[in-house]
């Protein structure tokens, strides 16, 4: 039943974001695992479209915000405005009070603004002038970052990268998909045609069901083997944290659930592994991120327990 629904959503989104089915599946996994998504790619690839269509498909509120160097935390979270009629300060909610929030080019904002967003992501609440306001549920942040432009940007530190469950790249569409894009109507038009196929209640219920997916001892042993491996292997500068371990388990559970299982298999873990672990690991020698295929090759040294 779930598979059908899932395939339907994937088809819906893929009809707008052409030729990016794998990324769509990962984005949905991330979404149902209650995680946040970091998309690293060049402008004009379709990051915004992906976020928009996701929100629309799920029937969720959507806000987009372009991050710039002069952005202040108040611009994201909201601010108190003096109301002349009542003579009181009234909280004016910022764009973060939404369900799907697209933080475009997050690395352009100053660390102060970045951390304001990331705090909101972690705690799912905003504290402003001593008053705590919960964010809406589900709350899903898609942040994008341009990997090439370095001037005037503030690279996200590792500790903040860790807040994103997954990091994916969209990449250029293949020739066939691109021709379709060039031929077809604009994304906006296609987006308008998309029907909502899920409600807020349904989304929350799926997220709850993902939490209940069973992780057997054997599965957890494999997960722990992987974590231990990153901690002891000379390939990595620093191993995966327990938080990263939890992220892996959550993502694997979501992946398993979306594929119609109420238990997770080592294969599920292997599927999401490069996207969840990739931005959390750094190679010991070149101090750069590790290419995905290299990462998989390194991880293939860990045997699956029988």
């Amino acid at each position: 039943m779930m598979i059908k629904k899932y395939e339907e959503i994937v088809n819906h989104i893929s009809s707008v974001v052409l030729g990016k089915e794998d990324q769509v599946r990962l984005a949905l996994t991330c979404f149902f695992a209650r995680g946040h998504l970091l998309i690293e790619d060049f402008p004009g690839i379709g990051k915004t479209t992906l976020a928009k269509v996701l929100a629309k498909c799920m029937g969720l509120k959507f806000q987009r915000m372009q991050f710039t160097a002069d952005l202040l935390p108040g611009d994201i979270l909201g601010m108190s405005v003096f109301d002349q009629n009542t003579g009181n300060f009234r909280f004016h909610a910022g764009p973060i009070f939404t369900q799907v929030f697209l933080a475009d080019e997050i690395n352009r904002a100053t660390p102060k603004s970045q951390s304001a967003l990331l705090e909101a992501m972690e705690e799912e609440q905003v504290t402003f002038e001593g008053e705590t306001r919960p964010l809406e549920t589900p709350f899903f942040v898609i942040a994008t970052q341009n990997p090439l432009e370095q001037a005037g940007t503030f690279l996200l530190p590792e500790s903040q990268m860790d807040r994103f469950l997954m990091r994916i790249e969209l990449g250029y569409p293949d020739r066939k998909a691109e021709k379709k894009i060039l031929k077809g109507e604009g994304a906006d038009r296609a987006l308008a045609k998309i029907a909502c196929c899920m409600g807020q209640g349904e989304v929350i219920s799926i997220q709850d069901q993902v939490d209940r997916v069973h992780c057997s001892d054997t599965f957890l042993n494999y997960l722990q083997d992987l974590l231990d491996f990153t901690r002891s292997s000379p390939d990595f500068q620093i191993g995966l944290s327990p938080r990263a371990g939890m992220a892996l388990a959550r993502a694997a559970k979501a992946w398993a659930f979306l594929h119609g299982k109420d238990y997770s298999l080592p294969e599920d873990l292997q599927h999401i592994l490069p996207w969840v672990a990739g931005h959390r690991l750094r190679h010991r020698q070149d101090l750069m991120g590790i290419p995905r295929d290299r990462l998989m090759e390194i991880f293939s040294r860990v045997p699956v327990p029988i």
Partner: protein
């Protein structure tokens, strides 16, 4: 593979080190056998050659035993046993795949190390054994903690070794020792050389060429002059014309009188020689408690000396004899018998003439020419010393030569010596003189022992070698008792103070004159002697003395012994119980998971079909792969994998699934 090879190398290394002391004693083919087997195991680590199949291993075992039977036939002794041990140790590495076999091999290695003591007990071999134990302990560490670096294993092994050391010392000192050997096992390889209870002309030659030490002496206080180092061993009191033999108690019971002379106290460390004679300086007065002094004034143990023994002796050496001023008559020995007539003190005893006749009674009419010569030369004088003088002068005047190269014995050996060859060594001169004196009616007996000693300036003791073996004569004189006469000295006076191997018998403590190699030799000998007297010589009596020094009486000793045994027993029981519990625990831990086993079998079966599972492959991916490659099996494989996933990854699974799973795997075959 890397761990495996490190393990194999360390175990084989330990075996090689343990067997090494045996190699000179083993037949050549067993040495070659060991090298080939171990070499193969080491080379196959690099080349990946296969292990020998079971039937080859059986074949090797039988071939080895067959070869052993051919080499030793029925002489099943320590040598054959060591050969078997080496053979088996050589092929054991072929079956060291499991931990259990590796442990057995390591324990076998420890056992082989102990057997080194069969070959030698010298300090060097014991030091080597310590090294060997260390190497084997390293192998033990490798077996139990694989992947350790060489240095880490060494550190751990050294730590274990050092921790065991105090316990070893304690057990060495306190573990109850028994008088005599445990279980009555005696080593037959020890103590073959030495004097036997008969002496025939030419019989000593083999001894004279033997450079091994016969005994070592350490003087307490004054030491005698070099020319007085006559070590008495056996007294031969009977002559049949060819061979001198011992005879019990044909002696005068003489009361000791006070003569001017010196007492010497010294300790002797005697190498085993399988007979009861104990060497002592002429003349022994007091010996150890387990030995007695016979009527011939010879120190004699109650049992044959089969182990190295250490004993203290007091000897008395007379300064001079009355009426003696003869060349060749060695003043300094002699019997402290009374000058008064024998019959005065001991009525009923035989006269000297009768005794002389008794000594050569069995000689019959042998050596007639020697008898005639004795009568012609000295038959007319009455004085004993005059007779001795006349006979010795005969040797000198007729150009007798000292030589080890003597003709074969004949029917009348003394005649042959006196009239034909005119050359011989101590035995010949002593026999001839002794025989002729008895013919003249003067009791004379032949004494076997050693002359001289090589002084070790580093440790203040004398080494007396087998080659220093010497024979001389004791002649009875009414006034002086038994007087030592060494006829060899009349012929070869250069032998005085010089040992047969050319070393000086002087007590010089100066080492400057010694050559470097001699210095090394003395130093090593000194160290080895300390070792022998303190470690390998530590037996029942030494332990008793040690415990008494600690204030532990005999009663205490028994108590200590019993409590030691009890403690060992308790320790043994505790170890056993702990081992049993550990085994149970291990059994529980190691009980293989049924799901895992069944799935491994499934993978193994598919592997035979060419469908191998990559270690990093999940079960579903593997099943899909297999299904693509073998569509005919897809259904079965998927079913098995479903069961497996159910058992392993799903939340609740019916109990019957395991059985179904197993049946499915069986059906796949």
């Amino acid at each position: 593979m890397k761990k495996e090879s490190a393990r194999t190398v360390s175990i084989i290394g330990a075996l090689v080190v343990a067997i090494a002391p045996h190699t000179p004693g083993l037949p050549l083919w067993i040495n070659v056998w060991c090298i080939v087997m171990w070499g193969y195991m080491l080379v196959r680590l690099k080349t990946g050659w296969p292990l020998p199949a079971t039937y080859i291993r059986y074949g090797l075992t039988f071939a080895g035993i067959f070869g052993l039977l051919l080499t030793y036939s029925v002489r099943i002794g320590a040598d054959a046993f060591l050969g078997l041990l080496a053979l088996m140790a050589a092929i054991k590495p072929f079956e060291m795949a499991t931990h259990r076999h590796q442990m057995i091999t390591v324990l076998l290695t420890y056992f082989i190390i102990i057997t080194s003591l069969f070959r030698s007990e010298s300090m060097f071999i014991v030091l080597y054994m310590f090294f060997s134990v260390l190497v084997t302990t390293m192998a033990l560490v490798q077996v139990n903690a694989p992947g350790n670096l060489f240095r880490e294993s060494f550190k751990l092994a050294a730590r274990i070794f050092i921790q065991a050391f105090p316990l070893m010392v304690l057990l060495f000192l306190l573990f109850p020792r028994f008088p005599g050997s445990l279980f009555g096992i005696e080593d037959k390889t020890m103590g073959r050389t030495g004097f036997s209870d008969h002496l025939s002309l030419g019989g000593l030659v083999s001894l004279v060429r033997d450079q091994t030490p016969a005994f070592r002496v350490e003087f307490k206080g004054a030491s005698p002059l070099a020319d007085k180092l006559y070590w008495r061993g056996i007294v031969f009191q009977k002559f049949d014309g060819k061979t001198w033999t011992t005879q019990d108690q044909l002696a005068f019971n003489l009361s000791p009188l006070s003569f001017p002379g010196k007492y010497y106290n010294y300790t002797i460390l005697l190498e085993p020689h399988n007979s009861p004679w104990l060497m002592a300086l002429d003349l022994p007065i007091k010996g150890p408690s387990w030995a007695g002094i016979t009527g011939e004034q010879v120190l004699k143990s109650r049992r044959p000396v089969k182990k190295r023994v250490r004993y203290m002796v007091s000897s008395f050496a007379r300064d001079f004899f009355d009426e003696i001023s003869l060349p060749g008559v060695a003043a300094g020995g002699g019997f402290p018998g009374g000058p008064s007539s024998v019959s005065d003190h001991m009525p009923g005893l035989i006269s000297p003439e009768e005794m002389a006749a008794a000594i050569i009674s069995t000689a019959g009419n042998k050596n007639p020419r020697a008898r005639a010569l004795a009568e012609t030369l000295a038959g007319k004088t009455a004085s004993v010393f005059e007779k001795i003088h006349l006979l010795l002068s005969y040797f000198k005047e007729n150009e007798f030569v000292y030589s080890l190269d003597t003709p074969r014995t004949t029917r009348h050996p003394i005649d042959t010596f006196l009239f034909e060859s005119k050359k011989g060594y101590c035995e010949h001169y002593a026999s001839a003189l002794g025989f002729m004196m008895n013919v003249l009616g003067v009791p004379a007996r032949v004494v076997g022992g050693y002359l001289g000693g090589e002084y070790n300036p580093y440790s203040n003791y004398l080494t007396v070698r087998q080659s220093y073996a010497h024979v001389w004569v004791e002649i009875f004189d009414q006034k002086n008792g038994w007087v030592r006469v060494d006829p060899t000295m009349a012929v070869a006076p250069e032998r005085i103070g010089i040992n047969p191997d050319g070393s000086l018998a002087s007590f010089s403590t100066s080492t400057t004159a010694l050559s470097f190699s001699r210095k090394i030799k003395f130093a090593l000998d000194a160290v080895n002697l300390r070792w022998k007297s303190w470690f390998t010589g530590y037996s029942y009596f030494e332990q008793k003395a040690f415990l008494e020094k600690l204030g532990l009486s005999e009663k205490w000793r028994g108590f200590v012994g019993i409590s030691m045994v009890l403690a060992m027993l308790l320790l043994g029981i505790l170890t056993g119980v702990a081992g049993f519990l550990f085994w149970l625990f291990q059994l529980k831990k190691d009980r293989p998971d049924p799901v895992e086993q069944a799935y491994l079998m499934f993978c193994c079966n598919l592997g035979k079909l060419g469908l191998r599972k990559r270690p990093d492959q999940g079960p579903m991916d593997f099943a899909r792969d297999c299904g693509n490659k073998r569509p005919d099996l897809r259904e079965k494989i998927m079913m098995i994998t479903d069961h497996y996933v159910q058992l392993r990854f799903q939340k609740d699974c019916p109990e019957t699934t395991l059985e179904d799973f197993k049946t499915c795997i069986k059906n796949l075959k």
